[in-house]
Symmetry: C2
Subunit: 186 residues, 2 copies
């Protein structure tokens, strides 16, 4: 008796991505993107950053809606806690990037995902940012990401999904490797 | 005739921060923080990350409310654009961190801020994340931050505020220097 296999659907359009990859290899100038954000100070350590427009595929683009992010310091830093801390946004960016990659790679490999969760933990010695000890770095002393994935695959296949996602992740690269930041006042 | 100078108020409690710095120098174990985030895959490249609890000052802490961040890929990546891209969250984290620093340093130096805005631009060649060219990195090729600051200070003093903020910024450090990230599946 013939069985019908339900097509794998993680919601990622792999054909479009493969098509884009081939198209952009031939027209690499279209692959030059520029991401943008605009930040306004509110009061104290509270500020608000929005993202809407970006550049890519040779022209100006924009998100369907504007996205807005409030950041602040918590009450233990004598602030008002009106938003996540800026370092938590970095963790959210890393989590979102790796998880999108897991879904995309799973789709490519025809592995049906049922659930994917990740917990992130990042240590920081705040003697750095307080300027109390110049031998302590300001940033994280490391980040640990722990995935729990329920999928129609073996443990080894699931491990391989996560490894491939790391290999192609923009935010993983930004955090693990140095990126030049220039800051100017006009 | 005596004039009364209005006290500088940028909304940052500098006395509390200076007090914390001195206290934590004596009890450095209290300066060991751990920031956390939890991410759940929604569908496709869309996921949601929340932050609430963290560890610091020797005990479990939590934000007044939970903060939630949706991330997704945009329509030009054949996705549904249900959130900012993960790399834009990194830009928002950098903007929020540097801007909180500007306000804090201004308060310390008794410089009244009137307005602070920043625009961030980050180039990325997406041939990297598409796996189309192994010589192209996945992350940004650089980030440019441009501040416009209206404050009761000279241009040189304003430049110095921004420079000092960079020097003490956690996210600036995380982006410009390598940070170890371990990813495991349980």
């Amino acid at each position: 008796m013939a069985t019908t296999k339900t097509p794998v659907d993680n919601g990622v359009n792999v054909q479009a991505l493969l098509g884009a990859r081939e198209a952009l290899k031939k027209t690499p100038e279209g692959a030059q993107f520029q991401w943008r954000a605009t930040c306004s100070w509110v009061y104290g350590t509270h500020s608000r950053t929005t993202t809407k427009k970006y550049f890519g595929l040779g022209q100006e683009q924009q998100h369907k809606t504007e996205f807005s992010f409030d950041t602040d310091h918590p009450e233990v830093f004598a602030s008002e806690d009106k938003g996540a801390t800026p370092v938590e946004l970095v963790l959210a960016g890393l989590a979102g990037c790796l998880t999108a990659g897991v879904a995309s790679v799973a789709q490519m490999r025809e592995i049906q995902l049922r659930s994917v969760t990740a917990t992130l933990e990042a240590g920081m010695d705040i003697l750095g940012i307080l300027g109390a000890d110049s031998d302590v770095r300001n940033g994280f002393d490391g980040i640990k990401v722990t995935y729990r994935i329920d999928a129609d695959a073996t443990p080894a296949e699931i491990q391989a999904l996560v490894a491939q996602s790391q290999k192609r992740s923009a935010v993983y690269d930004i955090i693990t490797n140095p990126t030049n930041v220039t800051v100017e006042v006009v």
